[in-house]
């Protein structure tokens, strides 16, 4: 126990005195959280390259449902999903999938909307001709859209507007058809009818009068429905989760550097002549770096809680399941330390470790949805992003902090992080043994 504790304290001392390393670990993610939260709070990015996976539930199965589906299919960037595993989509199932972030939106065309809309059109025209209107007309039927709470405002607005335009165009067609029919019917009732020259007797008939406001009365509408979650996520929540994971993974730089320095300076050789298992020394080292990751996470949380509200940003909330949060942050830290050990063992020089470590973390962060949401990436990149340990960490933290998830709902991500740690440790150990046998320690 004493060697473990001594190693733990020694590593903390070394890290504390590595000012540039501390700057990278603490200052960089803190600045990113503040700046990006402020930027995202005020600016909606209009990204035309976005691709939304939209669940489509057509309960109408008539003209309106069919036309909405056909027209949505024609919108670039919208991927319409009408069945899951060959089965029709159930609304509850769809809402669960949306709340979990598996799909970005779900559109529900209610049953009977075509009949209702046609009836309303005819009714509106009849009322317009008669000059009477219902005292309290029933609300128009509506096409409901459910959004993943994490979908950015720009995407919500663009999809909602597209659907509204579509419904308006359909309304015009239906109204025009209804009006044509109404006019035709009224003309059929005129004495003798026409064609041909207008009988002189018609000149005495009263003119056809219509309420000019009838066209403005809506037949149907589209509305964004509330999420199943109690609160919408804030930019602070998303950024704290994202940049914390990013910052934690930057531990690979000081850890990889420390391993290389120990090898280069001969300290590792000295350590290995000690009557202590190297596994104990390694455990002490890992414990220290995990502790630093935790301090880093708490620092960012503290900054977000205390420092951001005065800047006009929302107060940070991290969900309700503290044990799940603790386990998740620890697993992210373990995975990051595994990566650091692997880089420190494989790199030959400090420069190699620094360059490779930084590039690897930034690439994994970009792929993992730290910088832009995964759903706006091209399909190929979305597939690759599933393999980023930062994506696992981010998804788990977002699930707990934003979607109010639990350990059970992030078990897949936690297992992936644990597997990443195990694989990187095994690779580092194998490489370590190889270097050892070659006498290049």
């Amino acid at each position: 126990m004493r060697p473990l504790l001594a190693t733990f304290l020694k590593e903390l001392r070394l890290l504390y005195r590595d000012r540039s390393g501390l700057l990278v670990l603490f200052f960089m993610p803190a600045v990113l959280v503040v700046v990006v939260s402020l930027v995202q709070e005020n600016v909606l990015k209009a990204t035309g390259a976005a691709r939304l996976d939209v669940l489509f539930i057509d309960q109408d199965r008539q003209t309106v449902g069919r036309i909405i589906r056909e027209r949505l299919d024609g919108i670039e960037g919208v991927n319409l999903v009408t069945a899951l595993n060959g089965q029709a989509i159930d609304i509850d199932q769809a809402r669960t999938l949306i709340d979990k972030g598996r799909y970005q939106a779900c559109m529900v065309v209610p049953a009977g909307i075509t009949e209702t809309v046609r009836a309303r059109a005819a009714e509106h025209i009849a009322e317009a001709f008669s000059g009477k209107s219902g005292e309290s007309p029933p609300p128009p039927p509506r096409v409901s859209i459910y959004f993943d709470p994490l979908v950015q405002g720009a995407f919500r607005s663009s999809l909602l507007n597209a659907v509204r335009q579509m419904l308006l165009a359909m309304e015009m067609e239906i109204k025009a058809a209804a009006l044509t029919e109404a006019l035709s019917s009224r003309l059929q009732r005129t004495p003798g009818g026409f064609p041909g020259p207008l009988p002189p007797g018609l000149a005495g008939l009263p003119p056809i009068e219509m309420d000019p406001g009838w066209g403005a009365r809506r037949l149907m509408e589209a509305a964004a429905e509330k999420s199943g979650l109690q609160k919408l996520p804030t930019s602070v929540q998303q950024n704290v989760a994202a940049w914390s994971v990013f910052g934690i993974f930057f531990i690979v730089l000081p850890l990889g550097g420390a391993i290389i320095r120990e090898r280069r300076d001969g300290t590792l050789a000295r350590l290995r002549t000690l009557p202590v298992s190297y596994l104990i020394l390694l455990s002490g080292k890992l414990a220290a770096y995990i502790a630093v990751c935790w301090v880093q996470f708490l620092f960012i949380v503290l900054l977000a809680k205390a420092g951001l509200p005065p800047l006009g940003l929302p107060v940070l909330s991290l969900g309700t399941d503290s044990p799940a949060l603790i386990v998740t942050v620890t697993m992210v830290a373990l995975a990051a330390c595994g990566g650091g050990l692997m880089i420190g063992t494989f790199a030959r020089t400090l420069e190699q470790a620094t360059m490779f470590g930084a590039v690897a973390v930034v690439c994994a962060a970009a792929l993992g949805g730290i910088m832009v949401p995964v759903y706006v990436m091209p399909p190929a990149m979305q597939a690759i992003s599933q393999w980023s340990p930062l994506a696992w960490g981010l998804n788990a933290l977002v699930e707990i902090a934003v979607r109010e998830g639990s350990l059970g709902s992030v078990r897949h991500e936690l297992l992936c992080l644990a597997a990443f740690f195990a694989v990187t440790m095994a690779m580092a150990w194998a490489r370590f043994g190889r270097i050892d046998r070659q006498g290049r320690m």
């Binding site: 004493r2 060697p3 504790l5 001594a6 190693t7 020694k10 001392r13 070394l14 005195r17 590595d18 280069r264 300076d265 001969g266 300290t267 050789a269 000295r270 350590l271 290995r272 002549t273 000690l274 009557p275 202590v276 298992s277 050892d436 046998r437 070659q438 006498g439 320690m441």
Partner: protein, 256 residues
């Protein structure tokens, strides 16, 4: 905790038939290397660059596993019972194997803790070792701020923390000023009088002449001469000193 008292073997170090080849090379880095060191004995291991000195020390301290041969430290097999055998050895590596951002005292305390020395005993040993190498006044200065000579002395002090029976010194005076070198050699001589055995590698022939009772010369992984300084000189009457003898044995061709 102090180091456990070893049984009183005739030899602190007993190595027989050590061989090591770094794959994929076919030439052995060390072949049929045998050596023994008794209590208080300082054995010099000399050889040109690449002769196999560091490989020999790595094998004798358990840093490397040999292809064949055995090593016993105070009668304990190093490769079968490494934890036990390592308690009796101290290593002064060729590099300054210390943490530059820790102070001298912090470095000593850390490595002392690895031998489960704790509390007041740890503090006492730290102070004693720093005093031995003349660094008491710089105990709380970071190693990175030390001069080359001070770093070398601190490197030695760390190896003395647990009062080892056997010291392996891999060029411990490389690049230091005459004053530091003199102090280091004086302290090693004092330690040998206390019964500490040492294996000492160096390129400074005069150091070996000054402190070593026996000399082993290796080249291309093989021991080419071994004996007391006087015995070696007697066997090579044409050589005026150990330096000439060394060049006669290993040749004047550059090895780098």
């Amino acid at each position: 905790m102090m180091h456990p008292e070893p049984p009183p073997p005739a030899d602190l170090l007993s190595a027989e038939g050590l061989a090591k080849t770094y794959r994929p090379a076919r030439t052995p880095a060390l072949a049929s290397f045998s050596l023994s060191i008794g209590p208080g004995e300082i054995v010099g291991l000399l050889g040109p660059n690449g002769a196999g000195k560091t490989t020999a020390i790595s094998l004798l301290t358990g840093l490397l596993a040999p292809d064949s041969g055995r090593v016993a430290i105070c009668g304990t097999d190093l490769f079968r019972h490494p934890g036990k055998a390592r308690q009796w050895i101290g290593l002064v590596p060729q590099h300054i194997a210390l943490y530059p951002s820790l102070t001298a005292a912090e470095n000593l305390c850390y490595f002392g803790s690895m031998y489960r020395i704790a509390g007041r005993r740890l503090k006492e040993r730290t102070e004693a070792c720093l005093e031995t190498v003349g660094l008491s006044s710089s105990a709380h200065v970071r190693i990175g701020a030390f001069s080359g000579g001070m770093q070398r002395r601190a490197n030695l002090a760390v190896a003395l923390m647990h009062q080892p029976r056997l010291l392996f010194l891999d060029e411990p005076t490389a690049g230091v000023d005459p004053q530091s070198r003199n102090l280091i050699l004086d302290r090693l001589t004092e330690l040998s009088r206390l019964g500490v055995g040492m294996l000492y590698t160096t390129h400074y022939i005069e150091e070996a002449e000054r402190i070593c009772a026996r000399i082993a010369v290796i080249d291309e992984g093989r021991t080419i001469a071994h004996g007391s300084l006087q015995g070696l000189m007697d066997a090579h009457p044409g050589c005026g000193d150990l330096g000439q003898l060394f060049l006669q044995l290993t040749g004047k061709e550059l090895r780098d």
